[in-house]
Every structure is written in C-alpha cells, then in structure tokens.
Symmetry: C2
Subunit: 306 residues, 2 copies
C-alpha cells in the first residue's frame, strides 16, 4: 500500500520583498512529498527532471523516505524552471520565466512497484498527464486528490473537466472555484463543482484559510496568522501533501478525518512559508508539528454552552 | 446596569445586484441595538434624528426593549442619509450620497438614567463625539468597545488615536488595521495597535471572518459561507451589537467569553445580510439564533487526537 504523488520536480528562482534566490529546488511533487513524508513512510513520486538536476537533491528526498523510482531523469535535457517575483502583499506574484524543458514531453511512467497505490495525489500538471496516471494504475486508488489551476481552465477546460470527473477530492483556490463554476458565491460554486464528480472540494483562500465542502457540509480551516511570510512558493503543494499524507496515515476516509487532514495540511503550509523554497520543510520534527497543531487548536476552538 | 450604544440612527438607500430600496431605516446604532436586544434587555441608545424620522420606527426599537431616551429628535432638521451601490462581488461599494444633516452638530447628551452604564459601544462617528460620551459618563464603564473606519484615519488620525487610547476593544477591518499600524502583517499590526491602548483588537475580514487579538493570543472566527448575500449594509454594526450584547449578558470579560461573543456577533451578522436593511433582524427568535450558532460550531470544530 502506498501514496503516489505526481507533479513537478524542478528549479525555482524566487524574489520576495525579503530577498532573492538563485535556482533552488522546487516543484509540486517535491513540496508535497516532503510534507507527506512527515506522516506516511510509503510516499512515492512520479516526475521528470533533466540531467542538470543535482543527484544530492534526489538523495535528499530519499533520506525523507520518498521513493524516487518513478522519477525519470532525461539525459541531455533540462529540468523545468520557474522564476517569479512576489509583490509586497505576498498574495500576488508575477511569473518572470517559465521554461517547460522536460515537461513538454512528460510521459508519466508508473513503475510496477507503484501498482500498490492506495492514495494518489495529482499535482498541478496538464489534465491529460493527470488522467493518464489514473488510467495506468491497474486498480483505482482508494482516494484520488487533484490539484489544478486557472491556466488549464483558460486553455483546456474540457480536458480538465474530464479529469475532474475521475477524482474524489479537488483542491483549487477561490477565484478558480468561481471560474470553474461560473458562480460568485462559494457555496453555489461548490454545489456545482461537486456535481462534476468529486465528492470533496477544498477551496484554498491563502491567508484566509481553506474551506472543505462535502455533500451539504462545510468545514472552515483557519490559516495561522503569521508575523512574516517569507516565501509563499510551494505552500499550496505542501498543504496538499500534508493533507493526503495524513489521510494515508489514518487510513479511513470520512468527513472528520478530512477536517483533521485540512488542519495538518495547513500546519505544514504554515511552516513552508517561513523560509525560501523547501528549506523549512527539511528541518521539521514531530514535536514542532504537534506544537503547530496546538496553535491551530487554540486559534479555532471555542466552547459555547447554551 | 445597562449597555449603551452610541451611533447613527438614519436613512439608507441601497442598491445591490439583487435590487434597490427607497429610503429605509438604517444606522449603526439601529443595527447594533437590535442585535444586542436579542441577548440583553437593558440596551439604551444615544443618537440624533431629525423630525423626518418616522415615529413608528422609534417605536419599533422600543418594542425590542431598546431604551430611546437618549435619542434626540431635532425639530426642523433632517436625519442623516446615506446612499450606496454595491458591486457584484458585494465586498466593495460606492457611496452615492452622504447627507450629514443632524450629525453635523451632534452633541451626545447622556440622560441621567443612562449613568448606570456598564457596557459602552461607540459606533462609528467622529472620534471627538465618541470620546465626549466616555467623558460624560460619571463612572468608567466596565467595557468600552470602539468601532471606527478609514475615513477618520484619513482626516483626523490624532483625535482618533486619542479616543482609541481610552477603550478596551477596537473593531476595524483588515485594511484599516494596516492603515492604523503601518504594518502589512496583521500579527504585527495587532501588536502595534494593542500598544495604543485597547486590550482587545478585533479585525473584521467580511466573508473571511474575524480575528481576535489579546496579549499574545489569537482567535479566528469563521464567517458562515452563504449562498446569497443580499445586502451587506449594517453587517459590521450588527456584529458589534451582537458581540457586546452577548458580553453584557454573560457579564464576565475574559478571552473565552470574547471568543464566544465573536461567534454570536458573526451569527447575527450572517442573518443581517440575508435581507435589505434591518428587515431580517426584526424577525429572529432564540431558536433561529441557536440553530445558526450550531452551524458555526459545525463549521469550525475539529477533534485531533494525537
């Protein structure tokens, strides 16, 4: 039994009001698998890099227990590279450079040892690549989580909707939920999106937390108010990785466990933004995570006796 | 012992994507006192209207147990009038008309029977009028809550800061907290604002809920996701009225009761926006409020066993 995460393993160059990096390691699968590794020890990735990707960074993932057999290394090709600059509010950013490189022809190969997949996280990629992974698994996983973005809604909505129809959980942000549904109210948007296939919808609202919709139930997870957001890159992927990693650990899918998974995902994401790139995710331990969860408890819980 | 609410009693004309009203009854003190009346039966208002204000609408407040002895009626003058138009997202609005009328020379007279004031809600008005009310009370109330807005920060920041230094709780929205403190991070903003005098700071984030700051503690109250927001006018005043009305009812000021007060205020505000003006606030009952509170419990509560 395992958790498979598909997504990018890549280079980022990031500029924020706090500083600037050269090319550092990033990518959705990197952030998500590191986050998941804190909860679940059978996390495996499917991704592609060029031979410019440092061996030591692949070994770093392996040190965290991440199985990289499904990470293809394309000789003579270059890894995906994204460069962006965040504005002062840290909520908006400009993309400076996107070099697809190896991603242009990415054919996600599933190693035979991955066929025990029970939990599948489809990180943001073309909808066809995402659906291909589902089709190449001999048994449908117990839980499929899909992350996507407005870019695919703009250029290939039909393909995206087909992929959405195949999954159990969809994670998007509030403006994407509005774009996908054509509804401004998130309650109405969620109702329409849940009719497209997924049984659960997570709407990410950044510094305002996240909403979980299932049937007629709603859960609101707060975001931890932070004094400093150093670099938001990868926060959404870290959230998704922590979310599915926690669910893989507890092994039972229900609304209560989903709620907790949202809190664990939010807690991991709150660490992620404290340093550049994956830096913070590499130095956590169980006690730090428990302390952070306690902060979420203190932040959210109230006790009304009527 | 009583709760005094000072603020406007006025006319509004509102346009939203759902419809348009003629002049209807509005004003901060109207919304706040109606909300408070559901929790506390010794709610008194200090306000001013012209003789154009319908007697039946004053009687309506009285029916809700609101003491209107401090409501001055200026013969030959006109009531405050505001007209606004909400944009499609309902989060932003344009002011079309502001006629100060009786507000221009508002001298808040405190009836002798109001001198038992224990809880004081200073609704949005000029900072001088707000501080005058504090000075005219012979005994300092047990709890003073101040609501204000960016308008006063733009034109009389020094007066506003003096009034802020005299109160226990300040309620403002997120952009106002940033303007008042000069800090983008709400955590840093709250730290600075709590050094200005108030022991508690509530940052209202509209559809994203509200944050309560006290010493080094933070509580995040969710907003109830709604399918339809019909008219947001008065939601902030309703929140404040429900908040202080609940505290007046329980009678003990501590962080836990403040948290609950935020939830009760948010619940009342979630009703307010369901119809135009005060319409919805006039038709609530205890059972409806309890049901709504239960929705907030379901929305927020999770149970993590580590």
């Amino acid at each position: 039994m395992s958790l498979i995460i598909i997504g990018t393993v890549a280079f980022d160059a990031i500029e924020t009001p706090f500083g600037k990096t050269d090319k550092i390691v990033g990518g959705a699968a990197t952030f998500a698998s590191l986050a998941a590794s804190y909860f679940y020890d059978k996390t495996k990735i499917v991704a592609v890099v060029g031979d410019d990707f440092p061996k030591k960074d692949i070994e770093k993932l392996q040190e965290f227990g991440v199985d990289t057999e499904g990470l293809q290394i394309k000789v003579g090709e270059k890894s995906f590279f994204w460069s962006g600059k965040y504005h002062n509010d840290m909520n908006s950013r400009d993309t400076l450079i996107t070099e697809l490189n190896v991603l242009e022809q990415f054919d996600p190969i599933i190693p035979e040892s991955y066929q025990d997949c029970e939990y599948l996280m489809l990180g943001n990629l073309t909808p066809q690549v995402q659906s291909t992974v589902i089709k190449r698994l001999k048994n449908r996983p117990k839980l499929i989580v899909l992350d996507t973005m407005n870019f695919w809604m703009d250029i290939m909505m039909d393909d995206l909707k087909e992929t959405i129809s195949m999954v159990d959980v969809l994670t998007i942000n509030d403006s994407e939920a509005r774009q996908l549904s054509g509804e401004y109210s998130l309650v109405k948007a969620a109702k329409k999106i849940l009719e497209m296939g997924p049984k659960y919808l997570i709407i990410k609202k950044g510094e305002h937390g996240a909403l979980l919709f299932h049937e007629d139930k709603i859960f609101s997870a707060p975001a931890l108010p932070l004094a400093d957001v150093f670099d938001p890159t990868g926060a959404g992927d870290t959230f998704a990785g922590g979310f599915i990693g926690y669910l893989a650990k507890v092994g039972t899918i229900n609304f209560n466990n989903m709620k907790n998974a949202l809190i664990f995902g939010s807690a991991l994401a709150s660490f992620c933004v404290e340093k550049f790139g994956t830096e913070r995710l590499l130095e956590l331990n169980e006690e730090m995570i428990e302390d952070r969860i306690q902060q979420f408890v203190n932040l959210s819980l109230f006790d009304i006796k009527s």
